[in-house]
């Protein structure tokens, strides 16, 4: 074990008095022109996510999950509709504002980790804290690495870490930003079950600890069991958006 409990019980309910949503999408559409063909990746997507909510976006390949994540992360712009994050309408934001938004509002976890190979675990995490403008980035980075159970691996380079450890460094980097929205694109896709569960546990913990809105995109239905809310996409449309019936399951109950 690396200091992370696999038996953490997910919180039964979202915060009792639901605050204003952190993420709001209104009628969002994204269409791509591929040659003479118009491909619709998203169509009329309307949803919101509140602080401290652990939301899972489910859907098969090509359903628009990643496009949705990119819209919320300001990596892509909708062709219709508005995306408002933390009260800021990012569909109207300038390029510079979008960069600032990404630094100070959202943080990412990628399926393929995307760590900086030349930086140690500590420096990768410090990078996150540093670009977000958080004070004392090194201390913040060390603290988050401790939290993800890598306090004894801080001086290791990515290639010296296992896949699970690399993903935990990626989480530490995202957490070190202190940003209110955390977006994870198939964060367990590259990992074995045991490690995947550790990662989910960490993400879940973040929703309680910092009231971070965590949005996880996956095609793994099992993961959706631990979410407060599950949004299902199909062919770019939201086909269901509801709290988990019966509340989130225990992470220790998951298996895939």
């Amino acid at each position: 074990m690396t200091g992370i409990s696999e038996t953490t019980v997910a919180s039964g309910q979202p915060p009792p008095e639901a605050p204003a949503p952190l993420i709001e999408l209104q009628g969002v559409a994204r269409r791509y022109q591929v040659g003479e063909v118009t491909v619709t990746a998203l169509e009329e997507v309307t949803l919101d996510v509140k602080p401290g909510e652990f939301t899972v976006v489910l859907g098969p390949s090509g359903s628009g999950k990643t496009t949705l994540l990119n819209m919320i992360g300001a990596l892509d712009s909708p062709t219709a509709g508005t995306v408002t994050i933390a009260g800021q309408d990012i569909t109207r934001a300038s390029r510079a504002e979008l960069f600032r938004f990404r630094r100070q509002t959202v943080s990412f976890i990628f399926q393929t980790f995307n760590l900086f190979p030349a930086l140690t675990a500590l420096e990768n995490a410090e990078f996150g804290a540093d670009v977000s403008g958080r004070g004392k980035p090194r201390e913040a980075a060390r603290e988050t690495l401790e939290r993800v159970g890598l306090g004894d691996r801080v001086e290791h380079f990515p290639h010296e870490l296992s896949g699970g450890e690399q993903q935990r460094v990626a989480i530490a980097r995202a957490l070190a930003t202190g940003n209110p929205v955390l977006l994870a694109d198939e964060p367990t896709g590259e990992l074995d079950f045991r490690t995947g569960v550790q990662i989910l546990d960490l993400l879940h913990e973040q929703t309680h600890r910092e009231a971070t809105a965590v949005l996880v995109v996956t095609h793994n239905r099992e993961i959706a069991r631990v979410a407060h809310r599950v949004i299902e996409l199909s062919s770019g449309r939201v086909v269901s958006d509801a709290p988990n019936p019966g509340g989130p399951a225990k992470i220790s109950d998951l298996h895939w």
């Binding site: 990643t66 990119n70 992360g73 990596l75 892509d76 510079a96 960069f99 600032r100 938004f101 990404r102 630094r103 100070q104 943080s107 990412f108 990628f110 399926q111 393929t112 980790f113 995307n114 760590l115 900086f116 190979p117 030349a118 930086l119 140690t120 420096e123 990768n124 410090e126 990078f127 996150g128 540093d130 670009v131 977000s132 980035p137 980075a141 001086e155 380079f157 990515p158 290639h159 010296e160 690399q166 930003t177 694109d185 590259e190």
Partner: protein, 817 residues
């Protein structure tokens, strides 16, 4: 399945996808091979041009020179030649009268040009002098009908340098007018040197040579027909040594003090051939360096392209494709680069050849230039260009097929598989955030790539440093010489007399009393030789009064000259070459007057009483009292004059020139100016090489950055996902580039300084023994090196800014490799 066409098709698609990069790498190789073949061909071109030029003008095989100031009745020297037992081996002989003179040339729209020079009067045939002919470059040459006429041909180097019209009028000493009917070149004056003034040449700037008939020269000299020189050519197969021995024996009897020399002894001949060899050693160093720089760069860039295919190689391995087949695609890429590099190299070689030929024409204005394409030199360079890309692509393939397929296809293996020397970075306590650390870590992470890129840049920088350092060193040396010669009276003018005159003679008084002359000091200057052990070289020995008010040589060490004392003051360079120091005795050869006109050479042991700092080793000084050794006590042949304030130099020179028996009037610092002029021509070749080096550095920087941008796509996308603006990502690449550029520049400067020292201490003493060049690297050279190595390489990532800015971040983040 027929796999050949399949691989070709795939490779063709690769090429279409990255044709720009392939072309750019091929250009790097092409510049390397092109410049290599251009610089490598220079010696052959120069020698071929020398051979053709000397042959075309019937350059002499042997030359008889009478002691300075001596003359013999016309026909004397011819008779000596005809009396030789081996006279049948002589094919042609031509008597000449060579006179020092002052020349005033009319210049349309400007004041007249007053300069020192020499009249070369030769017997004329239908096409001018039968031996040591004169090739007309503009206007016409001499012909037999010109004998005795006031007609001359002006040395083309002088004419070109001063932009004189093709034909015109001039006056020589004594105010005699002459018409020059053209400008031309003659073998002895392909490079104009001053009598005993060292080998550096460049004298054409203020030393005009006039070619005329023997009869015209005799009329200018006045008195009965006389000669002081003869040149002869020998038949094919003649025994030159035998004829020379017989000639020397005959002259010793009938014209004592005469000297017989060969064409190889001629300064112009010696310098042209020696320079061709000596300069080539320097050029070859630069040629190899440029080729090495291009090779490092091409190797690095080609391997990096193939490194990016490692995962595909792994997939191929997983699918059971034999390693040999896996190598086909990368090797085809290498072959494309090699072929394109060779084709471009051929074109660039021809282009470089043309540019170098033009630079060479300025440097060596020979009547015949031969610059054929040197295929064997090109092939040597092209072979490197052909083999290197194949090796560069084979190595990553070899490395790729060694790892298990599962590792090769695993996500992030290549990018995260090793940290290189990044661990070192942890121990380097560089202050700053993780962002600040990143460029340094990236440099350390791929040490092989960093090393190859830095070496590529370093090789180019070293060429620039060494080349510019040679120029800086010459400039510094010439400045130092000029400062020494100028002393406290930089505007003083040296008046050369046509022979030895008593220091209280009417001529001397006339010079001293010329309006505009504030002060005058007489001096005796004689050609001689300094020797110690087996080392001997020509010298100009000046004997002057220790009370000279206008100028005294600086004594850098030793006591210097004492009034009435024995001893000689020589240059530091001379002392080093002779292996002597203050207090040692050296053998000094100097002339001694016998009778009224003849001089003979004598030798004496003279103690070195001091060293002066002038870098020209030929300048030596003795106290005026020592003139008695030479039978010239109380005689002078030069007078230094200081003009009164407000006097025009040109006016004073013209007035002095108007005094009969004044043979030369020029500024005292003229020697340094000659050298400066000559150096400017040499700069032509340097500038061409520098230009290509700069182009090469930019191409290396661009290619390196372009590939880096591809390699860093995911990292850049990740940074941008975290809100680092594109300019921040580009900025980090710029810092990384600047670090690599700095490493390369430091290495380049170190290598360049090493080469400079080698050139100045090993190569140059052989080709320019008269000048002690002090190694100097100017601020401008360092700035140029830093500009090329650090700034250009550092700024190159800006070229990729648009690509980074327009990157599809989401797609890139999901790209596995």
């Amino acid at each position: 399945m027929h796999r050949g066409p399949f691989w070709l098709r795939w490779s063709w698609r690769d090429l279409r996808g990255r044709w720009l990069l392939v072309v750019a790498i091929a250009l790097v190789l092409a510049i390397g091979t092109g410049i290599y073949s251009g610089l490598g061909s220079l010696e052959n071109w120069r020698k071929a041009s020398n051979d053709a030029s000397f042959a075309a003008l019937n350059a002499h095989d042997l030359k008889i020179t009478m002691t300075e100031g001596s003359r013999a009745p016309a026909g004397t020297l011819r008779k000596v030649v005809e009396s030789l037992p081996a006279s049948d081996q002589v094919s042609a002989v031509s008597e000449r009268l060579i006179l020092p003179t002052q020349i005033e040339i009319a210049r349309p729209g400007q004041g007249p040009l007053v300069t020192g020079g020499q009249i070369v009067g030769s017997e004329l045939g239908p096409h001018g002098p039968p031996v040591d002919g004169v090739a007309a470059e503009s206007g016409r040459g001499l012909r037999s009908g010109d004998s005795g006429q006031p007609i001359a041909v002006l040395d083309a180097s002088f004419g070109t340098l001063h932009d004189l019209p093709q034909t015109g009028t001039l006056q020589v000493a004594g105010g005699r007018p002459l018409r020059y009917v053209g400008q031309g070149r003659s073998p002895e004056y392909f490079l104009v040197t001053r009598p005993a003034g060292g080998d550096f040449g460049g004298a054409e700037a203020s030393f005009a040579v006039l070619f005329t008939s023997l009869q015209t020269a005799e009329r200018i000299a006045g008195g009965p027909p006389a000669v002081n020189d003869a040149v002869l050519t020998l038949r094919d197969g003649a025994d030159q040594a035998l004829v020379r021995r017989q000639l020397e024996a005959a002259l010793a009897r009938s014209v004592p003090g005469s000297e017989v020399t060969t064409l190889a002894d001629e300064p112009a001949h010696r310098i042209l051939y020696k320079d061709a060899e000596g300069d080539q050693r320097m050029f070859e160093i630069f040629a190899y360096l440029i080729l090495a720089g291009a090779a490092f760069a091409a190797f690095n860039l080609a391997s990096r392209i193939v490194e990016a295919q490692r995962r595909e190689i792994g997939i191929g391995m997983a699918l059971g494709v034999p390693p040999k087949e896996l190598a086909i695609r990368p090797l085809l890429l290498g072959a494309e680069i090699a072929v394109a590099g060779t084709v471009f190299g051929l074109a660039l070689g021809l282009l470089a050849g043309e540019v170098f030929r033009k630079a060479l024409e300025d440097l060596l204005p020979l009547p015949v230039m031969r610059t054929p394409f040197e295929l064997h030199v090109f092939i040597r360079g092209a072979l490197v260009g052909l083999i290197l890309p194949l090796v560069a692509t084979a190595i990553p393939v070899w490395r790729g097929v060694r790892v298990p397929p599962i590792d090769a296809i695993r996500v992030g293996l290549r990018s995260a598989g090793s940290s290189g020397l990044a661990g070192l970075g942890k121990r380097l306590h560089v202050p700053g955030s993780a962002l600040v650390q990143m460029p340094i870590r990236n440099v350390l992470r791929a040490p092989r790539r960093t090393l190859l890129t830095a070496l590529g840049v370093g090789a180019i920088v070293s060429v620039v440093v060494a080349f510019s350092g040679v120029v800086d060193s010459f400039v510094g040396t010439i400045d130092s010489s000029e400062r020494e010669v100028a002393g406290a009276t930089p505007s003083r003018i040296t008046v050369s007399l046509d022979g030895f005159h008593p220091d209280h003679s009417a001529l001397v008084r006339s010079v001293e009393g010329t309006p505009g002359v504030r002060a005058a000091e007489g001096r005796l200057q004689v050609p001689g030789k300094l020797a110690s052990g087996s080392e001997e070289f020509d010298a100009l020995i000046a004997l002057q009064d220790s009370g000279n008010r206008l100028w005294q040589p600086t004594v850098a060490s030793g006591k210097g000259l004492r009034p009435g004392g024995d001893g000689i003051l020589i240059s530091k360079e001379a002392a080093r070459d002779l292996g002597v120091s203050v207090g040692d005795e050296i053998t000094v050869t100097y002339p001694r007057r016998i009778g009224r006109q003849a001089l003979t050479q004598v030798q004496a042991k003279v103690p070195v009483v001091g060293l002066h700092p002038d870098p020209f080793r030929s300048f030596a000084y003795m106290d005026a009292s020592q003139a008695r050794r030479m039978g010239l006590a109380g005689q002078v042949n030069q007078i230094d004059v200081a003009p009164t304030p407000g006097t025009s130099e040109q006016d004073l020179k013209r007035t002095l020139f108007g005094i009969p028996r004044v043979a030369g009037v020029e500024r005292a610092t003229a020697s340094a100016e000659f050298v400066r002029k000559r150096m400017n021509d040499f700069l032509g070749i340097i500038r061409v090489t520098e230009l290509f080096a700069l182009l090469l550095a930019l191409l290396i920087a661009f290619n390196s950055t372009s590939i880096s941008a591809d390699e860093r796509r995911r990292e850049n996308a990740t940074m941008m996902a975290f809100g680092v603006p594109a300019r921040g990502a580009v900025g980090l690449s710029m810092v990384e580039g600047a670090i690599i550029g700095l490493l390369g520049t430091l290495a380049g400067i170190a290598i360049g300084v090493g080469i400079l020292n080698y050139v100045l201490n090993v190569t140059l003493p052989e080709t320019l023994p008269d000048l002690g060049v002090l190694p100097t690297i100017g601020v401008g050279t360092v700035a140029k090196a830093v500009g090329m190595g650090v700034v250009a390489v550092g700024l190159a990532p800006l070229l990729t800014a648009r690509r980074v800015r327009g990157m599809d971040v989401p797609s890139t983040l999901r790209v596995v490799e």
